[in-house]
């Protein structure tokens, strides 16, 4: 056993988490805080979908017909964010660039405004708070918006955060809580007949575990065959501009296609995102960049003067019903915490709370009960 164990790994961690994205690290930190010995296996924590995420905590403005369970889950997690953030900033000493000015959702054309009016009516029937604004009112909030916008909606309860800062802070807080990072790539989960599962590493070693949490995003299906997760490619851009260029999260519809601009405190703006069913095609394409810039420029003409600092591709872990997979994964001692789609950052607190409860015997938050992976098993 010791010959196959990578150096520095204590035998018999209570919990081994495969995947150090925002979901896996949030689970790791909260679980370690409850006194369990926890290891995270990931060669590059925060390097997956989280790296390309915009960090919108926007269940109100992202609500979709047919997806009320996801809305309830998102609202519950949004409500958990302030305490999650306060503790994380306190324990890591990092600042997350957490912002609560809300989402301004704007319409470029009359058809887009008709869509937003229909959406606002739906949001109100769900008890959500949205305000209808004229184009001029939108521009009083965000002067850089195009004068030719038709109008918009303000969702004051939405928030946003910098996902890259969140994963760095989570890693720091996790280590301070006594957690171990195994900076290697997992090759599979060993599922013995009676005993505890362990994690097999690509380098050949194994990490023994009391229980395993699979939080490997879209790659989770390769670790647990049959798990209904698929990669949904997203291309995003980062622009660098003056501080205060935008002060709110701006989402927009441009002749039917959705676009968003998410400003950071340092002047950076994340601009996204494509949504493509192309497997693990990691290419940044001319068409993807063109469409993102074209639509963003329709909303905020001045962006063309900013520096194009970065292009990136991420793979959202998509599920058939867009709800994540949180809970027992169908094998003894193995849990899933994946399938968060476009909502990994938003859902990190409630995912961590649910998995920590499952591991330590507490109560799973009610809104997370809809995420039991068992719903896809016959």
């Amino acid at each position: 056993m010791s010959s196959t164990r990578p150096s520095g790994i204590e035998p018999g961690h209570d919990v081994v988490i495969v995947g150090g994205g925002v979901a896996g690290l949030a689970v790791a930190w909260r679980t370690a805080r409850r006194g369990l010995s926890v290891a995270v296996v990931d060669p590059a924590p925060g390097g997956g979908a989280t790296h390309a995420a915009a960090g919108m905590l926007a269940p109100v403005s992202e609500v979709t017909y047919t997806e009320e369970p996801l809305l309830r889950l998102g609202l519950a997690s949004l409500a958990a964010w302030p305490a999650f953030r306060a503790e994380l900033e306190d324990e890591s000493g990092a600042e997350l660039d957490y912002r609560t000015e809300g989402t301004l959702e704007v319409a470029r054309g009359a058809d887009d405004m008709a869509f937003l009016d229909d959406l606002a009516a739906f949001e109100r029937t769900l008890g959500l708070r949205v305000e209808r604004l004229t184009g001029r009112e939108c521009r009083s909030f965000e002067p850089m918006l195009s004068p030719s916008l038709r109008g918009g909606l303000l969702a004051r309860d939405d928030a946003w955060v910098n996902p890259r800062r969140v994963v760095r802070a989570l890693l720091t807080a996790f280590r301070k809580a006594g957690g171990t990072l195994v900076a290697e790539r997992a090759a599979g989960i060993v599922l013995p007949g009676g005993g505890s599962p362990s994690v097999r590493l690509e380098s050949g070693g194994t990490v023994p575990a009391g229980r395993v949490v699979v939080a490997a995003g879209s790659w989770s299906a390769s670790l647990l065959p049959g798990l209904p997760v698929r990669p949904v490619k997203g291309q995003i851009l980062r622009l660098r501009g003056p501080k205060g260029f935008l002060t709110r999260c701006v989402r927009g519809l441009v002749h039917g296609s959705p676009a968003y601009l998410v400003p950071r405190g340092d002047g950076e703006i994340t601009l996204g995102a494509t949504s493509e069913e192309l497997g693990y095609d990691a290419r940044v394409t001319a068409g993807g960049v063109y469409e993102l810039l074209r639509d963003a420029r329709e909303l905020v003409p001045g962006i063309t003067e900013l520096e194009l600092a970065e292009t990136a591709v991420g793979f959202r872990p998509g599920t058939p019903d867009n709800l994540p997979l949180i809970g027992p994964a169908g094998h003894p001692g193995v849990l899933a915490a994946t399938g968060h789609g476009r909502n990994g950052v938003l859902l990190a607190p409630i995912t961590a709370e649910a998995v920590a409860a499952l591991l330590t015997g507490g109560a799973v938050p009610e809104a997370a009960l809809s995420c039991d992976p068992g719903r896809f098993r016959e």
Binding site: T64, Y65, T66, E67, G279, P320, D321
Partner: protein
């Protein structure tokens, strides 16, 4: 075919027989699960997928849904602006999906997404020569429909209104003229907003209806799919039954004098 229902009414397209006359598109659904429910409720046997937005090898994709439901896949060339791109896309689709069927879609401009007649015709000729079963998306132009039929297309697919507009059938007269003249199936494609639009298409003499957004972007896609299924059947039956002539004045349904 009986006097009371449409059993035995078969839709023949490209040499294959279909019971359903509702062809579905897959774009715009909020999730795969909702799309799957809508496909089931629609009763469709033929469904289009955009080849440019899909990796045929990826697992858990829309193609898996179609295979699981035994729905024939009709690749389309959505997103192409030239005949050259469309021919290339059709050939990639043939290789990846092992089908020689293609819904030919060559768009003239991004705002209206109206089809480009010249590029469409050019691509149709080349694809027919290459052995494809070509189903071209076109404007509601009877002359172009006739030319494409002569060029060997297996059907013609005139629009009711621009893609995704939900404006219904803006020029019923042209659709009727196309249906009257065609010897290949006429499939109303694009513009359907609600069930009555689909019924109207069938009453005008179309052989089938293709729609996506009207279902996938509805508040409750599964319900709208069921509505479309019934509307297409109702419109087909009404067409076969033969409507009464329109009159300017009333005619008592129970005549006062015996006939």
């Amino acid at each position: 075919m009986t006097e009371q229902d449409a059993s035995g009414d078969v839709f023949v397209l490209g040499g294959e027989k279909f019971t359903s006359r509702l062809i579905m598109g897959t774009g715009g659904a909020p999730s795969l699960e909702v799309l799957d429910q809508a496909l089931e409720a629609s009763g469709t046997e033929l469904t289009t997928v955009a080849m440019r937005r899909l990796d045929p090898a990826a697992r858990g994709s829309v193609l898996d849904l179609l295979r699981a439901r035994n729905i024939k896949v009709l690749p389309n060339t959505a997103g192409c602006f030239t005949a050259g791109e469309a021919v290339l896309t059709a050939r990639l689709a043939r290789e990846a999906l092992e089908t020689n069927w293609v819904k030919l879609e060559v768009i003239a401009d991004e705002r209206t997404l109206l089809p480009d007649p010249i590029e469409t015709f050019d691509a149709a000729e080349r694809l027919v020569a290459d052995g494809f079963v070509v189903l071209p998306y076109i404007g509601d132009d009877p002359a172009l429909a006739r030319r494409l039929e002569d060029a060997g297309c297996a059907a013609v697919m005139p629009l009711g209104a621009p893609i995704g507009s939900g404006l219904g059938i803006r020029n019923p007269h042209s659709i009727e003229l196309i249906a009257e003249a065609a010897t290949v199936p006429v499939i109303l494609d694009a513009g359907i907003g609600t069930a009555s639009d689909a019924a109207l298409a069938m009453e005008l003499g179309c052989d089938a209806v293709l729609l996506a957004s009207a279902v996938t972007r509805a508040h409750r896609p599964g319900l709208m799919a069921a509505a479309m299924r019934q509307a297409v059947t109702a419109g087909r039956l009404a067409r076969l039954a033969g409507r009464i002539p329109r009159r300017r004045y009333a005619e008592a349904s129970s005549p006062s004098r015996p006939a």
